[in-house]
Symmetry: C2
């Protein structure tokens, strides 16, 4: 039986990063990565296969990323924790000293009648399946997207670019509602509508209809939308069967329970990424955030800790961004609703200014930042930015402020750099001005 110092099950973002960092931190080469897929998809790139990239082959993570680690294409079917072995579907067994589970997640399948009809598709991270989906999208006909989260809107936008008539159906009042403040949701919706995408909100799907293939989607409102295919993007469920069968504990959001070192209840087994439970930076309680960026971070932490506790996970903040209909949107930390739900009294500060300065510079567009603070401590707990392509990094600056628990005053005085081509004017820099405006809100309240 082959035995490895470190075995990693799963070869997507979390698994790859674990393999990279175990080599980097410990100089460890005795690593086996076990994964089911011949080729691994860039998870966030999946919607872009269907418009921008144009082919599944353009969205593949290169195997060379795992460096000196050995790769085995197989399914791990069981873990024997006592003997520290993993059984594979080819009958082979491999031994481990340390084990990292990075088994990922699977698209959620809601209990909708007709979901098993032909031409109902999910964002399965499987090359062959996604290749078949590409052929389906190559065809003609209208598309219904069920779910107005990031993945749903990105699919809608890409299919729209390919010339399809697309309708998005979202149960909640707004698309992106669980992760964004309302005005950002509205901006995304308006941008997509402006490009011809139909968006139906506050409406659920009662059934997918058709003889063999999906032919229409029947809504709770009684409306019926004709279509030739359906794409479902309503979230993911962690892949935890392997862990569960091995007796590892599962947390409240369905992920494998881990401590701040990414250890499961078995000190030799770690879990990272979509399969692992996440805990909020803000209150330490479980949160159902599943993102590749979070997975890679947990991979780094687990890899650092395999032999000795070194790095502690400070908890999940949740930083997201997307671009739909050329409108970029980014968000970090708590939404207003979430902040209130967990007991924060919030103060909001907003600022909008041209993305370049003076505003007469070519391609200057309005860029807006909105920051949320805890009234008691004055600390930042969330923020969002739209709509220029710099917001992906602006929101990372906001994340840096959150991690470091910066206050309104500290951000108002933040020593940013500015340049005509690259940022707003120093007199109207959105991040600092939003904090200053929040501070002003507080002052007005104290006075009144």
């Amino acid at each position: 039986m082959e035995k490895y110092e470190l075995v990693i099950i799963g070869g997507s973002a979390g698994g790859i990063q674990s393999a990279i960092c175990a080599q980097k931190h410990h100089g460890l080469n005795d690593i086996l990565v076990i994964r089911m897929e011949e080729k691994v998809m860039v998870p966030c790139g999946i919607p872009y296969i269907y418009g921008t990239l144009g082919a599944v082959e353009k969205n593949i993570m290169p195997d060379k990323l795992i460096g000196a680690a050995k790769l085995k294409i197989a399914e791990a079917t069981s873990i024997d924790r006592k003997n520290k072995t993993v059984k594979l579907n080819d009958g082979q067994e491999v031994g481990y000293n340390k084990l990292i589970l990075a088994t990922g997640s699977t698209p959620l399948q809601p209990p909708i009648p007709g979901l098993n009809k032909k031409n109902v598709w999910f964002a399965w991270k499987n090359t062959d399946y996604l290749g078949e989906l590409a052929k389906a999208i190559d065809g003609k006909g209208d598309i219904v997207v069920i779910g107005g989260g990031f993945i749903g809107l990105e699919f809608a936008d890409e299919c729209r670019k390919r010339g399809h008539k697309v309708t998005v159906v979202e149960m909640l009042e707004h698309c992106l509602q669980l992760v964004c403040t309302t005005d950002l949701c509205v901006r995304a919706e308006e941008a997509l509508k402006g490009n011809g995408v139909d968006i139906i909100t506050s409406n659920g799907v009662k059934a997918i209809e058709g003889t063999e293939k999906a032919e229409s989607v029947f809504l709770q409102s009684g409306e019926r939308i004709k279509c030739s295919m359906v794409i479902v993007g309503i979230g993911v469920a962690p892949n935890v069967k392997l862990a569960k069968d091995a007796g590892l504990e599962i947390g409240p959001t369905g992920g494998i329970k881990v401590d701040e070192f990414q250890r499961t209840v078995d000190p030799d087994i770690f879990a990272v990424g979509d399969c692992a439970e996440k805990y909020s930076f803000f209150n330490g309680l479980p949160v159902p955030v599943r993102l590749a960026s979070v997975a890679t971070r947990e991979g780094k932490i687990a890899a650092a800790n395999i032999f000795q506790p070194q790095w502690r996970n400070i908890g999940t903040i949740g930083a997201f961004s997307t671009v739909v209909a050329n409108t970029a949107i980014a968000m970090a930390g708590l939404t207003d609703a979430k902040a209130q739900e967990i007991g924060f009294e919030t103060v909001i500060g907003e600022a909008e200014a041209a993305s370049k300065h003076p505003g007469t510079m070519p391609d200057a567009h309005p860029m807006r930042v909105r920051l949320t603070f805890d009234r008691r401590s004055g600390k930042i707990i969330g923020g969002c930015a739209c709509c220029t392509h710099t917001v992906g990094e602006v929101v990372n600056m906001i994340t840096a402020a959150i991690v470091n628990e910066m206050t309104m005053e500290q951000i108002a005085m933040f020593p940013m750099g500015t340049h005509p081509w690259l940022t707003a004017s120093p007199l109207a820099y959105q991040f600092t001005d939003a904090a200053s405006n929040a501070l002003h809100q507080v002052k007005k309240t104290v006075k009144s």
Copy 2:
């Protein structure tokens, strides 16, 4: 005699921000802004008048920015600190309770023979003068730019866009050497050369030659460059005559001495922006950084403190960015040379990856981050990024890390958000990977 609760002398970045924030923080409307110019130029926009913007009128700061503050176009000629009055060049006198000096700076005039010839130009922040310069650049002929700092390179690039043959002459080994690490300097130089700009480094100007007008520039190397005009951009000198005459103390770099509350030695007089002395965030000693972004920050701090000490200036970090020949470059904190000069032993971490992910996304370009850490504490003390247009905000994220004294480990574990259109892959995010690589350098050293 008119009397105001707050008088601000100077109407550029620092003065305007002081006026805005005094209103915001104290609800104060009894403010007079005294400035010499009919119209105020956006300082960082000046080089862009000559190519990208195309006209002086497109680079003006709107007067409405100062809100309810009163505006007076005049030159303040003296301050009577005992009677708390300011004398103006129109004979008028105005009283103040609190006074903020934001008198700015003037382009340095090096002791070069022939500097007073016609067609030798400086970046004077004066609308009429810059309008005349526009007419000169409208003409034909070759241009020599003396000084390869930000302003010099930006002028060179804009004049190049207008079809001029441009030569930059820099005394030091590299352009931008005082503010950037060498490899960034080289990238900027190469980008400009690739667009046809001649760059001569390690060479000084001995004389500007010509009968009445500048006709050639004679270099220390003996070389002679024919030209029809010369633009000089070698830095600025703080405008402190008014302060000096009033008995206020001047600091070692020539700025008005201020404390951490932006107070001068007179507790009723504050100084902000280019005219005020700056102190390093890293060691508290004076530093000759003069930027609009620093000026606005100091304006906010001074305004907050006029009636009572409220905000402390944590010191100047220095965050810069520019774009030349479509190559964006950004830098925050200490260069390696500066860090060593003030006693830090440094550890460098670098990371380069495609700016979008997968790298097959349209317009993905290599983006690179380089971080400098203090070996003893592990804290970040500097960083730079190039060459995509997101680096202006990336360097602000780096600045946030510096302000919060983040360590290599904290940055390596930083919970960034990522998106295919907006950032590198989560497996290759440059900021976190650079920190991780720095950490790896340290480990290698500890082991060896």
